[in-house]
Subunit: 286 residues, 2 copies
């Protein structure tokens, strides 16, 4: 898995390097791409390819694309008009370094480039590219991540039901995680049945990921997470622990982790990396 991270970060670096664009926007895009993310989404994509006994090369463009989309969303979320965060992964946020205007444009540039990279890929078929671009846009846009962010903003300072909370997270973080796994399945030539299993698996780890996020905001170590803890309570945000109690949230986390693992077993594929990722999501400390 460390080998995957090395390859992804090398490829991301190369993709920014080849851009024929003003150097300041390349720096701004690269700054957030290289700011030490966990690379969960691209690793999930490559690990799904691995599960299907495929070389990971064919998934590298799409893995980078999904990381670009994730990174753009963090840059825009951190803006003063949105969450107004000064720190991300222990480093100043993009607009703190490059200014707000450049941060908006760096996000726009990354979002746009993600689709270009899939379209330009040399190894995927045209049909695969079209399918991946469509699903990525659906996962990232108003019907997915952007819509989830809107619902999250609208839910501030109100007590949500658990259904409303799940809607927000399914869209805000879940769909891009699901896309990552499903993209690996598509590129790896999974059968329809396998794709469905991978999709269900991804739904469970997506929810588990978010519950762990909420738990870390209570129990986490600020120095490891790289941003202040306790902000959900300060901001009066509904979370899994606030709705289910901390113990209840942890129980639900383990339920989704166990379901995810059961589904992996059902695939009968080479899923040891996806098992590791599932465990990592359950116990991660940042």
């Amino acid at each position: 898995m460390k080998e995957y991270i090395v390859q992804i970060e090398k490829e991301l670096s190369k993709q920014i390097d080849v851009l024929n664009a003003p150097s300041i926007i390349k720096k701004a895009m690269d700054y957030s791409l290289q700011a030490g993310g966990k690379r969960i989404r691209p690793i999930l994509l490559l690990s799904t390819l691995h599960a299907l006994n495929q070389e990971i090369n064919r998934g590298l463009s799409c893995a980078c694309a999904v990381e670009m989309i994730h990174t753009y969303s963090l840059i825009h979320d951190d803006l003063p008009a949105m969450d107004n965060d000064d720190l991300r992964r222990g480093k100043p946020t993009n607009h703190k370094v490059f200014g707000e205007a450049m941060a908006i444009l760096a996000g726009d540039g990354l979002l746009t480039y993600s689709f270009q990279r899939i379209a330009e890929d040399q190894q995927l078929t045209a049909q695969e590219k079209v399918e991946l671009i469509k699903l990525l846009a659906m996962a990232a846009g108003a019907e997915g991540m952007v819509g989830g962010q809107v619902a999250d903003m609208e839910g501030e300072n109100t007590t949500l039901s658990i259904d409303q909370l799940e809607y927000i997270h399914a869209n805000k973080t879940g769909k891009l995680i699901t896309f990552s796994v499903v993209a690996g399945a598509i590129i790896g030539g999974a059968t329809q049945k396998q794709q469905e299993l991978f999709s269900k698996f991804a739904n469970h780890i997506g929810i588990a990921f978010q519950i762990r996020d909420d738990v870390l905001d209570i129990e986490g170590d600020q120095a490891i997470i790289g941003k202040p803890v306790g902000s959900d309570i300060t901001n009066h945000k509904s979370t899994y622990p606030s709705l289910l109690s901390l113990e209840g949230a942890k129980e639900r986390l383990h339920y989704h982790i166990n379901q995810a693992k059961k589904i992996l077993e059902q695939t009968g594929l080479r899923t040891e990396l996806l098992f590791q990722m599932t465990d990592l999501i359950a116990v991660r400390d940042r």
Copy 2:
């Protein structure tokens, strides 16, 4: 051409309507899409299809996609961190109505949806879609419109050379206009030679469009343009008139218009709509 505008606006409306997303983000996206733009880019695309004797139906998704990209760029450009404009086409800008956070997200949503619409189209081949998505992303991203906006920001309060000015406008507005024409050529099945002629034609009208913009900022009627005139001088921006004199700028405008028309004649195609568009760009009052 009025028929084209009706069809484009109807299709844009429908495409937002079918989105499964929180109603407030749909309203914010729709507000700017329906705020009375001139629809120059989608009309150019459809008029190029017409020149090639093709039905315009096959171009409608892509025409809407390019209008979505243009609209997102206006929403983000108007933000307080960017140009801080309160009025656009005589109406309050998106963030004035929906707030900054929603305006950022509405722009992100439109940008993302534009690629989805091309990928989802029922009539284009997978190869056509991939080519259109790649070219659209190149025209809109850091190597195109976003890069031009960055160069524009960096050039503020300095006197640019005419080459620097042309670089900014070629990227900030030129490439999306060129894409619109080239996309029509691709969808219409133009030969390589025809595509090259259309691309040259589009470069000329792109420059002419920008010179006219600069001239309107001096000679235009605020009530017709829908935003304050004279802002280039107030903001110490280099423009064609400031570098070439008003007369010099007008001469250059007519040079590019004449070149554009010569190229249209060379195609030997049914270019009467593109001739009309060329004239419209030269004399438009908003």
